[in-house]
């Protein structure tokens, strides 16, 4: 019998090459004749470019070309809003916007040349925050005005809901922008060939979306471009479609007709944006005395910076996703996405969910206190359940939220710890919790959320998987490998997953919306089963028996009826080829989930499954220094069947730490639109010392739409951290922080204000 592979913790398939330092990231690629590029960025938040003099830079020995906005295609690119050119054309809209690029024989020469470029700017008034952008007579960032997107959603009767409430609570929450902080700054190598085709090796979460964007920005046919995914050193959303440096690198390669490498420095990477979307959220909720939510009213102002990118999609998630986590009837959301002259923001792990989770879970705990209820009970009372149809038409095929809540409250010993808090002493402890949901998949990029897997079975019985879903460290390739190995009855070491390549891989959307496990996993399952039945058919012919009697285990096809009837897999695979009309085994399977796009009212079941999570933690607050530390934490993720528990735990721990960073340690400092802490010494992400043991647990619901019961993990786990910490801080010191991050200064100020109440 083949031991089951799915559900077993196993090292990632890329782990071996990575621990040897042999995985090749884009910045490691070196090609014959390769040149190096560097970018010049705008020092102004808003300015007209009057003139650019590149002559001195061009004259520097080693410089091959200097390009500016005058040289790039006029066609503009963008996700929905076509707002950008390859380099700024005539106008700059944020500090850090790329205005010129140098290609030279070495990075050092390119860097020196940057300093020789003379640009004359006419500085223009800039709007640097939401309030400025919305004020009377504000300078428009784009001609269309500063409100780039507006969403209105209403269901049920919100006013009646509030009228029926015993308590109503309203509060404004603000959330700040987080840097994705992947350890690999963006890097790209691009090269044209003798036929004029362009090949781009880059760090991306989606090769096909990258290709589409390149075609648009470079204004050339899609098929004249080939994008190959290099090993990705982390993405967290920023490398889906919004980063700009791969576009610039590709353009430069077409200019010099030689390979060009563009490695961003860390400062470059930070300045170019792709931080998460900061928001101001006004939340009003009504509840009856027993804790039932009767109405929810949300107003959101979100800042996308200079270019919209995916921000409108992010905001839509903030505006409505959390409504589906609870049994609600009366909900209303009004959200506006606002341009400012600051770096573009956009997709980030959790995709708008973190912002609303902070508001909602802070609110739930506050209202639980108002009702004299335990917040866990309040969540349980309102939690959506398996089989429910949510207020926005989401069909909840599996929901492990109640189990997640139970797990984390037991693990932290919630009730006992909560009772222990005395709110005295210098170092005070408090406990907090939060509950969240996320999608697994999302039919949003057009009416397809499918995934195709091509499976080749070689003549030695080993297999190659072709897919363009991207593994950026989260374990997609390992998941596919496990499903494939299990279905085919072969060892995992006999499975190879090819890197995504737009010329050779089937069309896929890539790693976003936690869609890969559920959609590509299903495609993999289909492809593997198809290959399996082809193998068994061939074996049946060869062995002279019924295919139905045959199985594959440990790389051998054998009959369940007659122990003498068996054949090693390679024998069958060769037989599949070497016969009249034979061929190598090559199967393809596409899985497109039975979901719908939202209608105009934002209604409809957009995802094949929904994931849930809960977190409970304890903090210690130093009342003299304002320092907050998470001292113990438990997170439970309902990811359906955990195909690789090791990976799920890794995702949970990583996401939870990223959330701690967002809440307590990381803060983008801007002055006049300029980033003041554009380095990792001053933009401080959590170190190993700054976080405790990250305990995680898994609730394995059986998702009917998932491959072998699985759904997405990883994004869900980033959602509960911030409010759980804020709630714990409140529990510890009786101070509610509603604007992130929770800095020592805010703690001290709040404590001081509390000690000196107005007379």
């Amino acid at each position: 019998m083949t031991v089951s592979v799915v559900g077993q913790p196993m090292p990632q398939v890329s782990a071996q090459e990575k621990v040897q330092g042999r995985a090749v990231y884009a910045g490691d690629i070196k090609m014959a004749g390769m040149l190096h590029a560097k970018l010049l960025r705008s020092p102004h938040a808003h300015a007209r470019i009057l003139s650019i003099d590149t002559s001195a830079a061009e004259a520097l020995p080693g410089v091959k070309v200097v390009v500016t906005g005058d040289d790039v295609p006029r066609r503009r690119w963008g996700v929905h809003h076509k707002q950008q050119n390859v380099l700024a054309c005539g106008l700059v809209r944020f500090v850090g916007e790329e205005v010129a690029a140098v290609v030279a024989t070495t990075e050092a020469v390119a860097q020196d040349a940057l300093e020789l470029i003379r640009i004359e700017y006419e500085e223009l008034p800039a709007v640097l925050d939401i309030d400025a952008a919305l004020s009377e007579g504000a300078v428009p960032v784009h001609p269309e005005g500063n409100v780039v997107d507006e969403i209105n959603i209403a269901r049920g009767d919100v006013e009646a809901g509030f009228a029926a409430a015993d308590i109503v609570h309203e509060e404004v929450y603000t959330t700040h922008s987080q840097y994705p902080g992947y350890m690999e700054p963006m890097a790209t190598v691009a090269a044209t060939d003798g036929n004029g085709r362009l090949t781009v090796w880059t760090s991306t979460q989606s090769v096909f979306l990258a290709r589409q964007r390149l075609a648009e920005a470079l204004d050339r046919p899609i098929s004249s471009i080939r994008v190959i995914q290099a090993t990705v050193g982390g993405g967290f959303g920023a490398k889906i479609v919004e980063e700009r440096s791969s576009v610039i690198a590709a353009f430069l390669a077409t200019k010099v007709d030689r390979p060009v490498r563009l490695n961003l420095s860390r400062l470059d990477d930070i300045q170019s944006g792709c931080f998460s979307v900061p928001m101001r959220i006004r939340l009003k909720m009504g509840m009856t005395r027993d804790g039932t939510i009767t109405a929810k009213d949300v107003t959101i102002e979100a800042e996308c910076g200079a270019y919209a990118g995916l921000s409108p999609e992010v905001m839509l998630v903030t505006a409505m996703r959390s409504d589906n986590m609870q049994r609600l009837e009366n909900v209303r959301s009004h959200a506006r996405m606002i341009h400012t002259h600051t770096m573009p923001r956009g997709a980030f792990r959790g995709f708008g969910g973190t912002q609303m989770s902070f508001a909602l879970n802070s609110h739930m705990s506050t209202m639980a206190d108002m009702l004299g209820m335990d917040p866990f009970d309040l969540h349980r009372r309102n939690a959506i359940r398996t089989g429910d149809l949510s207020v926005h038409g989401w069909e909840i095929g599996s929901c492990g939220l109640p189990e997640c809540l139970d797990q984390v409250s037991t693990a932290l010993d919630w009730t006992a710890r909560r009772a222990r808090n005395t709110r005295c002493g210098v170092l005070r402890r408090g406990v907090g919790m939060a509950a969240v949901m996320h999608v697994s998949g999302n039919r949003t990029m057009g009416n397809w959320d499918g995934s195709t897997v091509v499976l080749k079975v070689n003549e030695d019985g080993r297999v190659v998987i072709l897919t363009a879903e991207s593994d950026m460290g989260q374990g997609a390739n390992t998941m596919l490998t496990q499903i494939c190995a299990q279905e085919l009855g072969i060892p995992v070491s006999h499975v190879t997953v090819q890197a995504p390549d737009t010329d050779n891989s089937p069309y896929c959307l890539g790693s976003l919306a936690s869609r890969v496990t559920i959609n590509a996993g299903n495609a993999m399952l289909g492809a593997a089963r198809q290959a399996r039945s082809q193998i068994l058919e061939a074996a049946a012919q060869k062995l002279g028996c019924e295919a139905a009697d045959l199985t594959i285990a440990d790389g051998v096809v054998h009959s369940g009826k007659n122990p003498n009837l068996f054949a090693p897999l390679p024998e069958i695979c060769r037989y599949h080829i070497f016969r009249h009309g034979g061929e190598g085994i090559l199967v393809r399977h596409t899985h497109d989930p039975k979901t719908v796009m939202m209608n105009k009212e934002h209604y409809g079941n957009i995802a094949p499954a929904y994931s849930f999570a809960a977190q409970a933690l304890e903090v210690e607050v130093d009342t003299e220094t304002g320092q907050v530390r998470v001292v113990e934490t438990y997170l439970s993720d309902d990811c359906g069947k955990a195909i690789n528990p090791l990976t799920v735990h890794g995702q949970s721990a990583g996401a939870a730490v990223q959330a701690v960073g967002w809440t307590l340690y990381e803060e983008l400092q801007m002055e006049g639109g300029r980033v003041m802490n554009g380095n990792l010494a001053d933009y401080t992400m959590p170190t190993a010392e700054a976080v405790p043991t990250m305990h995680s647990d898994i609730v394995e619901t059986d998702e009917p739409n998932g491959p072998l019961g699985a759904k997405g993990a990883s994004e869900t786990a980033i959602l509960p951290g911030a409010p759980a910490i804020a709630n714990a801080v409140y529990d510890a010191i009786g101070v509610r922080i509603t604007d992130l991050p929770i800095t020592p200064e805010k703690i001290l100020a709040a404590l001081a204000a509390k000690e000196q109440p107005h007379a």
Partner: protein, 158 residues
């Protein structure tokens, strides 16, 4: 300006090279010796992705000049272990989920070698302190700490 003759040992092999004085050790390893396992993540001494061993001590190669390395012995991740003869730490990083994207991994491995050399039996707090010069954005450090602890427990600390 001046080129410098360097003679050093890298991963057990003698290397003679001519380098300009302003070449960083990280650049020398990656660009001149094609040892791209050593990464750059910040080039300001914070992230630790560029960590290598110099005479057995872990250092950040983005904070060193190549010319400082004359006569020294350098070990990069490529010198730690190979398929079939992986270093116990490499094995444990794989098995305990000590990596995801892998970009930080070479640096963490080198820091872990130094840590276990000085303290073959560290507790979790000591492990975390020993990793304070390295950043990882993927793992939340849990898999890394677990990997180092289990390496030590298996007696491979020294």
């Amino acid at each position: 300006m001046s080129g410098h003759k360097l003679s050093l040992v890298v991963n057990g092999e003698r290397v003679e090279a001519d380098v300009p004085s302003n070449r960083l050790l990280s650049e020398f390893l990656r660009d001149d010796l094609a040892l791209t396992g050593t990464k750059r993540g910040c080039e300001t001494g914070v992230c630790g992705a560029c960590s290598v061993l110099v005479d057995g001590d872990v250092v950040k190669s983005c904070l060193s000049l190549a010319v400082q390395m004359n006569g020294r012995e350098i070990t990069t991740v490529e010198g730690l272990g190979r398929v079939g003869a992986l270093h116990p730490l490499q094995q444990q990083f794989m098995e305990k989920g000590g990596l995801q994207c892998g970009y930080c991994t070479p640096g963490f491995l080198m820091a872990a070698v130094d840590l276990l050399k000085r303290n073959p039996n560290p507790d979790d707090a000591e492990i975390r302190e020993g990793l304070s010069g390295n950043l990882c954005r993927c793992t939340g450090y849990q898999g890394i700490v677990d990997a180092i602890r289990s390496t030590a427990e298996a007696g491979h600390g020294a």
